[in-house]
């Protein structure tokens, strides 16, 4: 496993390089001049072309895009992600200040999604094609399809305005986590429920399940001990991806609920053409996803002992 782990760590570097270069290129090609935007926001009159040109030189924006990227990558390799154009503060500091707020939503949302989706997926699989299965499938389709902003406003109207159970928005105490976390949890819960159902249906048809039943094991043991564990692999994989999105991609939810998180930081940076911050966001998000994927892969051996790490690959020892 050590070789596997080391190999994956080595692969992180080209992965992040590729992601960051793509993001750099896309940001640079987006219409709008960051220097002009900075001056427009901060001066009491529109900037002259000479002033814009001067600021572009100061910020290094007059250099070719590949050169800008190389300079940035060199600094990033030394842990320096630069200074935000918009706030004039170090990018790394800005990100680290916002991550905890996003985690405050993402982790409860992730647990909620798991707590809902796994039991619901199991029940749906066990009662295949019956009414409960149909209901679960309809609800999961709806959950995966509902626009998050619409759901957010619905929940606000019902839980915050009509029932006054929680605040509408803002990070004002523990109860303010409930609405945004609930909204965030719906889509991954729906997706994971479908994954769980599919995986369980596949496993429940296996010979060893039939054997377990034939032996007279209680159904709860057949499902809980023998079937579920084998069905978890694809679910865990999907969960890892969902968690990454929850941490870094909750832009709409954070905007609606006035939550000062990482996703809102990305949106503000894009609107302000804050290139260093955009790059920092992309890099950090890349690290989050790579790390989550690695953790998920390493967890496979815990879930399924048949899986071994061999020669840098995951192998199913039973095959």
């Amino acid at each position: 496993m050590n070789y596997y782990f080391l190999g994956r760590c080595v692969l992180i570097v080209p992965t992040l390089l590729g992601i960051s270069f793509l993001a750099f290129g896309v940001a640079a090609l987006t219409p709008g001049d960051p220097a002009e935007e900075i001056l427009r926001r901060t001066t009491d009159r529109p900037p002259s072309e000479a002033e814009v040109a001067q600021l572009r030189r100061e910020l290094g924006l007059d250099r070719p895009i590949p050169v800008q990227y190389v300079v940035w990558a060199g600094r990033a390799a030394r842990g320096n992600l630069g200074i935000s154009f918009a706030t004039r503060r170090p990018v790394i500091g800005e990100i680290l200040h916002r991550i905890p707020a996003s985690l405050q939503l993402a982790i409860p949302a992730a647990f909620l999604a798991l707590a809902i989706s796994i039991p619901v997926g199991i029940i749906s699989a066990i009662h295949r094609n019956r009414l409960v299965d149909q209901m679960v499938r309809i609800c999961s389709l709806a959950g995966a399809s509902i626009p998050s902003f619409w759901l957010a406003l619905l929940l606000i109207i019902f839980l915050a305005v009509k029932l006054s159970l929680v605040p509408v928005a803002g990070r004002v105490g523990a109860s303010s986590v409930l609405l945004p976390a609930l909204t965030l949890a719906v889509t991954p819960a729906a997706v994971l429920a479908r994954f769980t159902r599919s995986a369980m249906l596949e496993i429940l048809g296996e010979d060893y399940i039939r054997s377990a039943r034939a032996k007279g094991l209680p159904e709860r043991l057949v499902v809980g001990r023998h079937a579920l564990r084998n069905a978890l692999l694809p679910v865990i994989t999907a969960f890892g991806t969902s968690l990454g999105h929850l941490i870094s991609g909750a832009v709409v939810i954070e905007s609606i609920f006035a939550w000062p998180g990482f996703g809102k930081l990305a949106l503000d940076s894009i609107l302000q053409r804050d290139y260093p911050m955009i790059q920092g966001y992309v890099l950090f998000t890349g690290v989050i996803f790579v790390a989550l994927n690695l953790i998920i892969d390493l967890s496979y051996t815990r879930i399924d002992p048949r899986i071994r790490f061999s020669g840098g690959f995951i192998r199913d020892a039973a095959r």
Partner: protein
């Protein structure tokens, strides 16, 4: 093993909350007060560092700092930290400062603080909007300051009302966690980045003491959430209420308070670009467009009746007795068609006019400040202009930088913008945008109305007497709107504020950063 796993997961959950301390915080908490107002503002875009730091000032003015002059809701300049001022030819302004004023940290307010403010502006490229130089400011005595801009500038007192010229305690800076220290009726308590800023009454204020003990300004980027927070009772007051929500808020018992007109929405015609964006070089086409738009229908049908049909661009209250010089355009589709016929555009296929094989198709760029703000006005205009045979292609830009890119490239025929008169200088907007040699050269390249406009506007830059300034500006606006139709005003807009009935004494202002809170109180 199982217990270990469960424990680890619970620990992870806990850590998430433990590590999530408050966002970037300046200052410390204070206990709630009886007269505490909770205000919902739009997004937090304070700049926290550097020369252009704006914490507590812009876009949300928390009344911590003050300028030498202030702007009331009728766009009149009033004394604030300067009791009076006089112009000393050829180019010097002398300010007589208010005595007995203290900063929140106990320092006396004297000429030294004013000089620091002017020197801060002098460090900006070109000396900022007031053209301040490193030697522009002279301290005559502790309460008298002379300011001589680098170039003749008669409009200094009108310009000083904006937040750029707020006066800070000498030696105090904003940034690195430091709090703003001013002379305002409220003093800084706490700031949580992207969450809220809290201020409390300044008991040593030089003027009438504020009625409120404390104000908590919370940031709500989403307008629907802001409105719902008001309905739920999470806030007492909301800025920037969307027009479609006004009726429902009134029905639910909330007060809706509107300011005087201070904002406009208008189309700017690109008169100087090359093909294919050269069609609007023909003034008949521009006038036809202006006559094709039913502004009453726009106000009543699209804007919920919450706008005016003013076509002055500069607010009528700013033009004063000379507002009548700017007439605007009546809705007259027949006249529009006649103008198009005269210009050689004949009805073609699909009802769209043609000339020399070319369809009368114009690109309308919507995006200042953001395209979302203007919807569904572009679609309305598209329908109106189709009636007279003009095809409109709507190009939306989601933010200012991408909109600005289309301005810079000139790839558009009509540009839909919303603008705000933010100081007392009547010539502020026309000079800012269209005057040759003014600040916005790229706008002059596309929309520059030319020499006659410049000649009419020029006296407003040098004339001391305000009535003459207003006349000059009104005549210039008549030229650019009525004669040349380079600017095609659509509507005049006012700010809409919503609040609980218990909120008393609020004076609505057409400019956000001039809103004052010292007159506001909460009824029991």
């Amino acid at each position: 093993m199982r217990k270990l796993r469960v424990t680890l997961m619970a620990g992870l959950f806990l850590v998430a909350f433990l590590v999530s301390g408050p966002a970037q915080t300046i200052g410390g908490p204070s206990s709630p007060a009886r007269q505490e107002l909770r205000v919902g503002f739009i997004d937090d875009t304070y700049i926290l560092e550097g020369e252009r730091a704006s914490l507590g000032m812009f876009p949300l003015n928390a009344n911590i700092l003050e300028s030498l002059t202030s702007l009331n809701s009728k766009y009149e300049v009033k004394p604030l930290l300067a009791e009076r001022w006089e112009f000393r030819p050829p180019n010097t302004w002398r300010f007589f400062l208010r005595r007995g004023v203290q900063f929140h940290n106990g320092q006396p307010f004297t000429a030294r603080a004013v000089k620091e403010m002017f020197n801060r502006i002098a460090r900006r490229p070109g000396g900022g909007g007031i053209k301040a130089g490193p030697d522009s400011t002279t301290i005559v005595d502790d309460f008298t300051v002379d300011f001589t801009p680098l170039v003749p500038n008669i409009r200094i007192p009108e310009q000083l009302v904006t937040w750029h010229y707020h006066i800070r305690a000498p030696g105090s800076e904003i940034g690195q966690g430091r709090r703003p220290i001013g002379t305002g009726p409220f003093r800084f308590v706490q700031y949580l980045r992207k969450e809220r800023i809290i201020v409390e009454r300044n008991p040593s204020y030089w003027g009438p003491k504020a009625k409120l003990e404390r104000i908590v300004f919370s940031f709500f980027p989403d307008s629907s959430a802001r409105r719902l927070a008001l309905e739920a009772g999470n806030i007492d007051f909301a800025f920037e209420v969307p027009r479609p929500d006004v009726k429902s808020l009134k029905a639910k018992g909330f007060k809706i308070v509107t300011s005087s007109v201070g904002t406009y929405r208008a189309l700017y015609a690109n008169v100087r670009s090359r093909a294919p964006y050269d069609l609007l070089a023909d003034v008949r086409l521009r006038r036809a467009i202006a006559h094709s738009i039913d502004r009453k229908k726009l106000v009543t049908g699209v804007l919920e009746g919450l706008a005016t049909t003013d076509q002055t661009m500069v607010p009528p209250s700013v033009l004063g007795n000379f507002a009548f010089l700017v007439q605007g355009f009546s809705y007259d589709a027949a006249k529009a068609r006649a103008l198009l016929d005269e210009a050689g555009w004949r009805p073609g296929s699909g009802g769209i006019r043609e000339k020399g094989g070319r369809r009368l198709k114009l690109v309308l760029v919507s995006g200042y400040p953001v395209a979302e703000l203007h919807r569904p006005v572009p679609a309305f205009l598209q329908a109106e202009l189709k009636e007279v045979g003009i095809e409109i292609e709507i190009v939306e830009r989601p933010d200012i930088p991408s909109y600005q890119a289309l301005i810079n490239s000139g790839e558009g025929d009509l540009y839909l913008e919303e603008g705000n008169q933010s100081d007392a200088n009547p010539g502020f907007l026309p000079y800012f945008l269209f005057y040759t040699g003014g600040d916005y050269t790229v706008y002059q390249r596309l929309f520059g109305p030319g020499q006659k406009f410049d000649e009419l506007l020029a006296p407003s830059l040098t004339e001391v007497e305000m009535s003459k300034v207003r006349k000059a500006v009104a005549e210039a606006m008549h030229e650019i709107i009525d004669e040349q139709a380079v600017v095609i005003p659509l509507v005049g807009l006012y700010r809409i504020y919503s609040m609980k009935k218990s909120v008393q004494g609020f004076l609505p202002h057409p400019v956000y950063f001039n809103v004052r809170w010292d007159t506001v109180s909460l009824a029991d």
